[in-house]
Symmetry: C2
Subunit: 187 residues, 2 copies
């Protein structure tokens, strides 16, 4: 069931199960890090049957990607500051904070693990990235509609996000000056 | 005479052991992928004792990083075409070929696994990257000495290598046009 369908049936049994399962995943992530638990452990923690999780999400990968998207949308919503420069700076700082936080490398490892864990994982990773890219392009399109330069979400991915991701994956520090420098270079 | 000095003596017993161990690692990598084997399996394949590997390399991570560096230096030596543009295009195309080849994602996963596998892995990954960065800076410095623009190896890492790495890690295709576009943008 997707977000829209759930939104149409607030308070239903499905919605309660989804909330319990998301909560269980969030707790297991904070206790053990992304990927260090099984569907059975999520089910036990949420007080639901394993089969309920498989029926609704199909796989642990799909569930993890849904929880990751919910987390990103809550903790790092796309900014709307009124200027392209303000939006990009705020967004880059949010992403930097997210990926250097306690779960940050784990979130990146999850994205990579999904992409290399078979067709189902690849699709789950792809749908997570597609949704965040769509949101990012929306932020850039608002700037263009205000008469500011038109940027492409993939340029932001390549020249602001990718350098930050690689530095974190390689264990290098991200300073605010470095992050601002990536934005300045793009602007 | 320390381990390093002994390893440098061509034809010595140390050099033979190193060659056998590198060969065993290369075979295991091509059969199973980076990281899917133990020191014991490398030792058995190379016909040496586990303790010889631990004594010389200290850990599987250090050995893997040495083999990865040897492989990169052989298969993707820094180009010297006589122009900055030619060097960067050749280098970017080599890296693209390397990371999209059969072992490419595995090499990137190794670099990332090293960085997140404790202090010894972090140091091995760091020394691998430091050596390649030093070589890359040498290529850029030759261009500067010819009167071409002076570039920094970290700019090449951030804006040519990082976007390619992230696309490969996320399972996206790298086209030659895309790779050339990254170089054009930098030049």
């Amino acid at each position: 069931m997707n977000e829209k369908e759930r939104a149409r049936r607030p308070g239903g049994r499905s919605a309660r199960v989804a909330a319990q399962v998301h909560q269980a995943v969030t707790e297991l992530i904070s206790e053990r890090g992304y990927g260090n638990f099984t569907v059975g452990e999520v089910a036990a923690r949420a007080g639901v049957a394993d089969s309920s999780i498989y029926r609704r999400w199909g796989s642990l990968e799909t569930l993890l990607s849904e929880v990751a998207l919910t987390r990103l949308n809550t903790q790092s919503p796309m900014p709307d500051t009124g200027t392209l420069s303000g939006d990009l700076r705020t967004y880059a700082a949010q992403v930097a904070r997210e990926i250097t936080g306690p779960d940050g490398p784990a979130v990146l490892h999850l994205a990579i693990a999904l992409s290399s864990s078979g067709e189902r994982g690849r699709q789950a990773g792809e749908s997570l990235r597609a949704e965040r890219t769509r949101q990012l392009q929306g932020m850039l399109d608002r700037a263009r509609d205000r008469g500011e330069p038109a940027l492409d979400a993939f340029d932001v991915l390549d020249h602001i996000l990718a350098p930050m991701y690689i530095r974190v994956l390689f264990g290098t520090e991200l300073t605010p000056e470095y992050v601002d420098g990536l934005v300045d270079r793009m602007l």
